[in-house]
Symmetry: C2
Subunit: 418 residues, 2 copies
């Protein structure tokens, strides 16, 4: 008998039929002799509908505390309905809100982090033979205020709860069969990965393979919670996410990711003196702008050029910040570039295998494309390139690293992100 945490996202419980299908799946798992804790998100469009209501009521940005009061109802509806569906199959079940399940968070509305879990009620209810259903995405502060965890919050709820109750596994049910070597909508012969390490998953998640939220993966890594990402539409095996993952013979790259939300900013003719870079990046950090790849070119006549990438959505904001420190820093000009994409190859074994990055550069060059910026870490290499031929690049890299397979990927429906 295993103790299993099963997480279903909003599209998996999007309507009454899907809710019933989830109930069947849970009861089947319970009947196979397991104990089940189920974490669910709000049904389909519930969150968007609630946000629309606030827009009809107020043109201003609503207080985040009240938004949490409002949005947390979405998951509460889901857990109650799922419990009713499970009861109708003859299985006892009990639903809990975040606060009832003992999910304590910091006092930050809209994107609170979990600070503590007191799972006694969950464990008691399990001990009495119930399926326990917990509202994802939400918690409570020590003062009894309702909070939400922000994007990917339900994944985080599931993983954190799995850690707290020492579950044997946390299964993340989604609309795809598992984690793929790259987006199967782009590369038809993408390979479903039987295993992947937490670190690789983090790189892939951060780079846009939006199946698992990075925060949840981080949590799983920190508490060593075994994850399985699998489809809610079939019983295929899915992908195991864990500390160490075996590589297939002859393969060194686990997957290929891309991120279109990228812009390059270059600051040219910066007076070369200590602390200049720090000034720029401190100012950007204070404006909550994340900087990704940073490249500094050589110094000429005491003037340096450097470039970095930010999220495309942060570009104008970043340019404003830099203008604001022009007199303090002293530079000739600032340029920026859109229409870029960051392509990355990820694989835990890369660091010990020579020539992996070289093959990436060569593959991109062979397509007649130039590489704008490069960054490398122990488990990934990223190149920023022009975005016009992205799919071609991904396909070529996928082939070059021996990842092509002839098994057709299963893609079930719209993506499922909360």
């Amino acid at each position: 008998m295993s103790l299993i945490v099963m997480k279903f996202g909003g599209s998996s419980v999007g309507d009454a039929e899907r809710m019933k299908r989830v109930a069947n799946r849970v009861v089947e798992t319970q009947k196979n002799g397991h104990q089940c804790v189920v974490v669910v998100s709000a049904m389909g469009d519930t969150t968007d509908d609630l946000i629309d209501l606030t827009k009809q009521i107020s043109t201003e940005t609503p207080p985040t505390r009240e938004m949490d009061m409002l949005l947390s109802t979405g998951e509460q509806v889901s857990v109650a309905l799922l419990s009713i569906a499970i009861h109708s199959l003859g299985q006892s079940a009990v639903s809990y809100t975040g606060w009832q399940a003992g999910m304590y968070t910091e006092a930050v509305h809209g994107k609170a982090r979990i600070t503590d879990i007191k799972p006694e009620r969950v464990l008691d209810a399990l001990g009495q033979g119930n399926v326990v259903i917990v509202a994802g995405f939400q918690g409570m502060t020590e003062e009894g205020e309702i909070t939400t965890l922000g994007r990917g919050g339900s994944d985080t709820t599931a993983v954190a709860l799995a850690a707290a109750i020492k579950a044997d596994v946390c299964e993340i049910f989604t609309d795809v069969d598992g984690i793929y070597s790259t987006d199967p909508r782009v590369v038809k012969c993408a390979r479903k990965l039987p295993e992947i390490t937490y670190d690789e998953m983090l790189e892939l998640a951060n780079l846009g393979a939006a199946v698992l939220h990075p925060r949840a993966v981080e949590y799983a890594k920190n508490y060593n919670v075994p994850l399985v990402v699998r489809s809610s539409f079939n019983h295929n095996a899915g992908t195991n996410v864990k500390e160490e993952a075996a590589m297939e013979q002859g393969i060194v790259v686990r997957g290929i990711a891309s991120d279109k939300n990228v812009a390059r900013i270059s600051i040219l003719g910066v007076e070369e003196k200590p602390g200049q870079l720090a000034k720029v990046f401190t100012a950007l950090a204070q404006a909550q702008i994340d900087v990704d790849i940073i490249v500094q070119s050589g110094v000429l006549h005491g003037l340096a050029d450097f470039s970095f990438t930010v999220a495309l959505t942060d570009k104008d904001n970043a340019l404003g910040v830099i203008e604001g420190i022009r007199s303090e820093v002293g530079f000739r000009e600032v340029t920026s570039q859109e229409n870029l994409v960051k392509v990355s190859i990820v694989g835990a074994g890369m660091v010990s295998t020579p020539g992996v990055a070289a093959k990436m550069f060569e593959t991109i060059s062979n397509l007649g494309l130039s590489i704008n910026m490069v960054s490398t870490s122990e488990i990934k290499t990223s190149c920023v390139i022009d975005n016009s031929r992205l799919n071609e690049v991904i396909q070529a890299l996928h082939t070059a690293y021996g990842l092509d397979t002839d098994v057709q990927a299963f893609v079930g429906g719209p993506s499922d992100r909360r």
Copy 2:
């Protein structure tokens, strides 16, 4: 400066526009120098929509605990949206669920009674200058389970909270201008009552004048909470509900109510021996059937006949119960009658004014109708009659007791019951 509890029902907050109107009303009251606690119900059809969802999911009756989890979200949505609406008017506000506001109830789902109120959070937030918005209809058990209070629950929340925080008044906003001498949709010249006693209100509420829930009135009476029933559509004065209420010169009846949910059951030829009546009514009570008027005729040859009324919706159930004790009690036959209505005149001064009941019987007789059953109490007289000419009877009684007025009643919209 007064401390005011304002209660708005589901139709008053039925959509974004109405929600904004309520927000304006609250802010206006606050600006007039009062402290406001607002209790709201779920928006319009929310509850029905949620119940429909459960029917799509399960053909069985869902567990009441899970229904409470589900339905309590309706009020939570309302309080958050109202808070957002009030914030957008520049007034600070804070919303609370039932459990956050310290509404403790017994552990009965679907129709819990309030056992205790710990209003510290509400008082703290008021002290900080906030409008405090509390979800009606819901509470929490000592064990942290979410409960709902059943029909009229939001009225009860408002009155109980008003008692707990020692509010100066509890204003119940509804879609009519106040309490009328009878239903203004039936009698165009119905009279809006400036004042009414708790006891009279209880009789009128129980008899179908569905503006205030009896449980809320009882609570108000027990804790001596002054109530005002008034329209959410205008600023008219409304009706004060209190311990003692003045009567206008020459008027002894406060109002006329009717109840169509009534059926008569007669048990004929019952063997006359001690304890027979007790057996019948104990069996009915055990089946949760309320018996209203009871009439026993004289005894002939050691056999008695008696009749009583039950809710029409309980009739078949009651007949089954009586068949079940046939051998134990011993009687000749059971008959029943539908198509009845109970008409009542209510007035606290009736007991000290001779001839009030006689005028009722005479008025009904003058219409050529016979009276089936009669019951009287200190403040009301009820007659059970054929239901075919109810409106005519009510109009005739209204005229006979001098209640007709020439001021047109204001009726704002659909009725508002939760």
